[in-house]
Subunit: 578 residues, 2 copies
């Protein structure tokens, strides 16, 4: 039964008169009437309506049954957007990704951007929404920030179904031999809720299970989130779920989801969530938003499925990776590319005048004052990231996300510094101007790709022992003098090798605010020691996490949560979501 878009539906709306820069994001977002998503998919990609699963008129999932898995022979080029070390000044990686894609489309390039999905937790805590900003946004903004097509809820449900099956298994006698003292599988919730970090469940007597210590993480920290983002189709998803290690027997042998037989029901809950979501930018260019694993204890990139499908439908695909290039780009290449076979054809390194000045120690209150010397001083951070990307075989294009207070001299300083590295630095004004403000950047990226295909290299081979993999990242990217493994971490890494997981890549969980494990060490520190406090085996996601310092897997709410200032107006529209 062919389902098609309505041929009589109007074409994409003419370019709207947008509110002035500085208007709240949600008001800018709401001022643009989105294009019918089925029509957009037909016009841009020639896709019939039954190849999509609409969620409302402006969001859709790609119907995997229609497509099958994409053929790499059809892939366009892949552009990785990464950034300098984040500061409270804000760098605008998502905004740049959206703006660059709009810029590419203005140049006539058939291009899409792939982003991560936002979490409800930060949305109601402090951060607000996460769908770009200014005139470089994705719409419908409220829907993307709230429940977005049910993906995170499905992950939460699958994760907690497994938890309930585990506790039920213990309640009925633990046929598998799983030792309740060694259950490592916690529960998750897509909220910030500190009271759930540490708890004792199973209280109230024998009818109510076995009392034991456990807790909740935020959903983006779930291994299932990472699995959904790494999975290459339903069969791979199911196999990865079955490989998850949920605890140990008394003899410390691992118990997997497959041992309990829960992977089938979990896959049922995740079936729809595995399908990439299609939405649009303010300029009606296609945007894929799918998956959102933490960039510390997971790999911080959108799903492999979304990247694959986007590549098969476009000539160029822009994608972003979480935090700075030390975490995001490294994991993108060493984890996501290694497992999926994908390779970036170019990299964009986002920086701002303000961020470099903060790296040099300038106070946030003085960022608006021109200070070329501070830009030079803080550029060691930018240069370290350029050097690092070179180690992966990538020469980045630096995108200077321009603020109104940036002076021409400061911009010129960044360009001069980059010039010394043989790197182009392009000011971009997509936040204020949309795609029109990013055509220079888009052209520079196209030029870079025209100049030749990069020879992308992993930082380490699969065969290197896990400890040496961690040491390689620490010394070659972070310029650490050495790694300090805790006795537990050392013992566990040895055990993982013995269990046959030594070939896995490692995923460093450390602060995003420094090349070191100390968030206060700005710029480009060297000679520091990277402390590996604990390690975790994500056998389903396919990596070993090395936790360096304190990593929070369940955030708390601030004294006055953003939630308390939100609501619906008389028309039923959301206010307070910024």
């Amino acid at each position: 039964m062919p389902l098609q878009y309505n041929e009589s539906a109007p074409a994409a709306p003419a370019e709207a008169e947008l509110p002035p820069p500085g208007t709240p994001d949600i008001e800018i977002a709401r001022s643009v009437q989105p294009q019918s998503i089925l029509l957009l998919a037909q016009q841009r990609f020639g896709l019939p309506a039954d190849s999509l699963i609409p969620f409302g008129h402006y969001k859709a999932k790609l119907n995997m049954k229609h497509f099958g898995l994409p053929d790499p022979a059809t892939y366009g080029k892949l552009v990785l957007v990464t950034a300098v070390t984040p500061t409270p000044a804000g760098e605008g990686k998502t905004t740049t990704s959206v703006g660059l894609n709009d810029g590419l489309n203005r140049l006539g390039v058939k291009s899409s951007v792939c982003l991560r999905e936002p979490s409800l937790g930060p949305c109601f805590g402090m951060k607000g929404g996460a769908a770009g900003g200014g005139r470089a946004q994705v719409i419908p903004m409220e829907d993307i920030n709230l429940h977005f097509n049910g993906d995170f809820h499905a992950i939460t449900a699958a994760h907690n179904l497994l938890a309930s099956i585990i506790d039920n298994h213990i309640h009925w006698g633990s046929e598998s031999g799983l030792d309740p003292r060694y259950i490592s599988w916690r529960r998750v919730m897509d909220l910030n809720d500190r009271a759930l970090r540490n708890m004792i469940v199973g209280l109230g007597g024998a009818a109510h299970g076995l009392p034991r210590e456990t807790g909740f993480d935020i959903t983006v920290a779930s291994e299932i989130m990472a699995i959904l983002c790494m999975a290459d189709g339903l069969a791979d998803l199911r196999q990865r779920l079955a490989r998850i290690i949920i605890g140990r027997r008394r003899d410390l042998s691992p118990v997997t989801v497959g041992d309990l037989g829960a992977e089938g029901a979990m896959a049922i809950l995740l079936r729809d969530a595995l399908q990439p979501n299609l939405v649009q930018s303010l300029e009606h260019n296609p945007v894929f938003i799918h998956g959102g694993p933490f960039a510390n204890i997971a790999h911080g990139c959108n799903s492999v499925m979304a990247t694959r499908y986007a590549l098969s439908l476009n000539d160029v695909v822009v994608t972003e990776a979480g935090f700075g290039a030390d975490l995001g780009a490294e994991k993108f290449i060493d984890i996501k590319c290694r497992q999926s076979g994908l390779r970036p054809d170019a990299a964009v390194l986002v920086c701002t005048v303000r961020a470099l000045k903060m790296q040099a120690g300038t106070a946030k209150s003085k960022l608006a004052t021109p200070d070329v010397q501070a830009v030079y001083a803080g550029s060691d951070n930018l240069q370290r990231h350029i050097r690092n990307l070179r180690q992966f075989g990538l020469t980045p294009v630096v995108s200077i996300n321009r603020f109104p207070t940036d002076s021409d001299d400061e911009i010129a300083a960044i360009q001069a510094i980059c010039g010394d590295w043989g790197v182009r630095a392009i000011p971009a004004q997509h936040w204020a101007e949309g795609g029109a403000g990013a055509t220079d950047l888009a052209q520079a990226v196209m030029d870079q790709m025209d100049a030749g295909e990069p020879d992308v290299q992993f930082l380490y081979p699969d065969e290197l022992p896990l400890t040496e993999k961690i040491e390689t990242i620490a010394t070659r990217l972070y310029d650490a003098a050495r790694v300090d493994f805790s006795p537990d971490a050392k013992r566990q890494l040895e055990e993982y090798e013995q269990l046959g997981f030594g070939h896995l890549p490692v995923c460093i969980a450390k602060t995003q605010y420094s090349f070191s494990a100390n968030p206060k060490l700005r710029g480009a520190p060297s000679g520091h020691v990277l402390p590996v406090r604990e390690v975790r085996l994500c056998a389903g996601a396919g990596f070993v996490v090395a936790v360096c310092g304190d990593i929070m897997t369940m955030p708390g709410l601030p004294r006055h949560p953003a939630a308390l200032d939100m609501g619906l107006n008389a028309e039923g529209d959301v206010y307070g979501l910024v």
Copy 2:
């Protein structure tokens, strides 16, 4: 921007050759190609596409922005489907509701049916799916049973957002004066998970909140579920949320959601969920499925919104209420009708030969053996329900949900018994035959409504004190000799009166398996004592719950959960969901 269905899309598929009776429900469901839901809404109701929010091609929500609130002057007639006391033999209330609606449509009546949404918990535990059965089913069956348009996930998120705001409020010093020892708001999850019933949260030190006892209920037990089902639009939803009492101060004065200011953010999360869902039966007749509050500690009916919209779009609307008529019909009338102004125009009382025989004590293994005497003996249960419905001013049509093993004599016995009450009893075979098996029933319901409008009466007036309301239900419907209030319950009811909640209706939470609080007391017991163990004030939902006996608000999984036999086949289709 007008969005319309595709005019060139094919008409509803011709009547399919369905698999034979006895085929698993999911296979029957999957053998029918659903009609495009936008096209169905256009053909049946004349609705343009932008009045609907599609979720895939076969499910949609009604877009409240398009409609506004329906005008009662446009309402069709409302038929309440209720049942005798449930037994393990299964009565088929949902199946009858779906079949009756298909039967009405076969008679040329413009009719829809309103049902409750299924919960994920029982689906993975024992019960399997809940979208009718046999040839009286709603499709797409898997989608309705899994995540259905995100409603339950939204309720879970809104409920737990409030919980996180409460614990955060305590963590930062409890500005409202809320006493952490008196927090009554728990958390919810849409799963069966006994280990979460009783827990201590906030462990791990001062940075992780205040340790306190709490627990999780299943999402269908959330007061927010009841609120969503009672709310009459977004403004009413917000007001009801603000009225929720989440705990007490040291002086025992109640603290509400409004005191914390959380109702706006909660309303944001619930905005889409408040809109009724439209799907279709196997025979492509419109079905509204929306909301699913527990039928014990809540009122057990689909949403007021769905009933309202369905009534404004149809000449007849069939709706069901949970459990037997003692719980379901009573709450439908005394709570839902009282609050919403809706009134039933007719009632259908579902019974089976098997159920009556079980009421008489026949063992489940002997139900297939004809036994007219047992039918007579068990009919006291049926007769009690008929008498009770008469007290509400309703003369029911009895629907005998016919099984292949039922003898003609047994059917005739039920008809004779009903005849003595002036009630028609119609055998119906929708399970085996679809709507064609329910046209006699449909005609009888139409005849009943043609005969005159019932004078529907509440069982008690608003002004009656809460204790007397409970006593009225217990003595007049359950034939209890008296009510035994625990000292706590008595004290709390007095307090509710003092706080100004004495005008609320009461919601009895008792076993569904008996007119008494003892599930083993079958038939039509009288002279028993109804023990009210505790009471709860649902100030947002608008009723006072009287808990009689043990009521489980978080189910557990059985030794071998249904989840372990589920999965996706190579085509990505669900198996094991029954």
